[in-house]
Every structure is written in structure tokens, then in C-alpha cells.
């Protein structure tokens, strides 16, 4: 492949990544995940419980477990939004991988062993 063609191919990859990212960000699933995250961070009960669970001075035991934190309605809503985004990304990845002729996300995972 000539240098010119290589550059053109790389620009094409960059452009399609840019277009795909913009379309995804505009999806309701993504905007809802952002809103759900903001609601979690703004929730006073979540803030208090997660502060308590990060540890108290002197190693005192707290009354809350991670499962109880996960059971909070704002956290449940966040997990639901996360699940929707995950399903969307799975579906997209199937299309990308089919068109590429090789699995995309599975081969994009970085490992500690390189």
C-alpha cells in the first residue's frame, strides 16, 4: 500500500470513529447514563453510605454492606442505565466486527501481559 493510500485509510478510520462517537453520545441511552450518574453523585444517602464504607478512623465496623449500597434506588437506576448502554455497545460491536472480518472490542482489550 502506498503512503498516500495508508494516510487515506487512517483518516477514514479516524473519521468513522469520530462520527460513530458523536452518534452514540446523542443516543438516549448515553444521555440517561450521564443523568443517572449525576443523580447517584448528588444523592445524600449514597454520599453518606459510601463515605462510611470507605472506612472509618480506627477501623470501626460500619453497618452497611456493598449489597445494601447497590440496593439503593438511585444506584439501581444507574445500573439499569449502564445495562442499556452495555447492550447497545454489544450490538454495535457485532456490526463493527462483522464488517471488519475480525472481532473488534475483544481484540482491543489491553492486558497486563501485553
Amino acid at each position: 500500500m502506498s503512503i498516500e493510500k495508508k494516510v487515506a485509510v487512517e483518516q477514514s478510520v479516524e473519521e468513522t470513529v469520530h462520527v460513530l462517537a458523536a452518534l452514540l453520545k446523542a443516543r438516549p441511552e448515553f444521555t440517561e447514563l450521564g443523568r443517572a450518574a449525576a443523580r447517584v453523585n448528588a444523592d445524600p444517602q449514597f454520599q453518606r453510605l459510601s463515605r462510611e464504607m470507605r472506612g472509618t478512623p480506627g477501623g470501626l465496623q460500619h453497618a452497611w454492606s456493598p449489597e445494601q449500597l447497590e440496593a439503593l434506588p438511585v444506584v439501581q437506576a444507574y445500573r439499569q442505565a449502564e445495562c442499556s448502554v452495555r447492550d447497545l455497545c454489544h450490538a454495535l460491536d457485532t456490526v463493527i466486527s462483522e464488517a471488519a472480518g475480525v472481532a473488534f472490542a475483544a481484540n482491543a482489550k489491553r492486558s497486563c501481559c501485553g
Binding site: H18, K25, V85, L92, A99, A100, V102
Partner: protein, 130 residues
């Protein structure tokens, strides 16, 4: 089952097609095709994968694996990795993975989320993606 809107599906197809035209992906696909066309290389890989699955299943069931069996696995692994067509494919795959990780990183920056983690997550994974 998620139904993708046409615009999104076309954008995903465009990315896949663009990736396919890169040297890195073409080199990998060609190497994989050469491997699959060679009965000896294909047989070696299939034997290795079957032995690995068998040993893993038994180990996960709580069985203590015999040293000789583990040595047999590593001997077959070494033989497999030394086969020229397999070595060539593995080298091409390694380069492809580096490239895909870079492309996915750009996608993640654009999204503000870890695309790779989301696209490869299973139900059991849970945890924060942000």
C-alpha cells in the same frame, strides 16, 4: 436484543469496513486464511485448544492435574507456537490487538466512557464503567 437505528448501524459498518482496509487487518486476515488452509497447522491448533479446554474443565472441577499432563500441554503449546504459519498469524494478531486498542481508545475518548469495557462486559461483570 437491541435493534440499532439505521444511522448508527451504517456508522458501525463504516468503521468496520475502514478497519478492514488497513494493512494491519489485511495482514492478519491473510495469515489466518493461510493457517486455515494448512491441515497440519489447523490440526495442531485444534489439538491444543481441545487439550486446554479439557485440562481447564478438570481443574475448575477441583481436580489436581498431574505434572506430566501439564508438561504435555506446554510441550504441545511450544510445538504449536513454533509452527511457521501459526507464529505468523500470532504475530499479525499481536499487531492487530495493539492497533485495535488504540482505535478503541479514540472511540472511548469521544464517548467519555470505556467502550471496550462496555462492549466486552457480561452480566456478571457489573461495576462502574465511568
Amino acid at each position: 436484543m437491541v435493534i440499532l437505528p439505521d444511522e448508527l448501524k451504517q456508522a458501525a459498518q463504516a468503521l468496520g469496513q475502514a478497519l478492514r482496509t488497513t494493512d494491519v487487518v489485511q495482514t492478519y486476515l491473510d495469515a489466518q486464511a493461510r493457517l486455515e488452509a494448512d491441515p497440519e497447522a489447523r490440526s495442531l491448533e485444534e489439538r491444543l485448544q481441545k487439550l486446554y479446554r479439557d485440562l481447564l474443565t478438570r481443574q475448575q472441577a477441583g481436580e489436581q492435574l498431574d505434572r506430566a499432563e501439564v508438561d504435555k500441554y506446554y510441550a504441545l503449546l511450544s510445538q504449536t507456537q513454533s509452527h511457521p504459519l501459526i507464529a505468523e498469524r500470532n504475530s499479525a494478531l499481536s499487531q492487530l490487538k495493539t492497533y485495535f486498542a488504540d482505535v478503541a481508545l479514540h472511540l472511548s475518548y469521544g464517548l467519555g466512557l470505556d467502550y471496550t469495557a462496555l462492549a466486552t462486559a457480561t452480566e456478571e461483570d457489573g461495576g462502574d464503567q465511568q
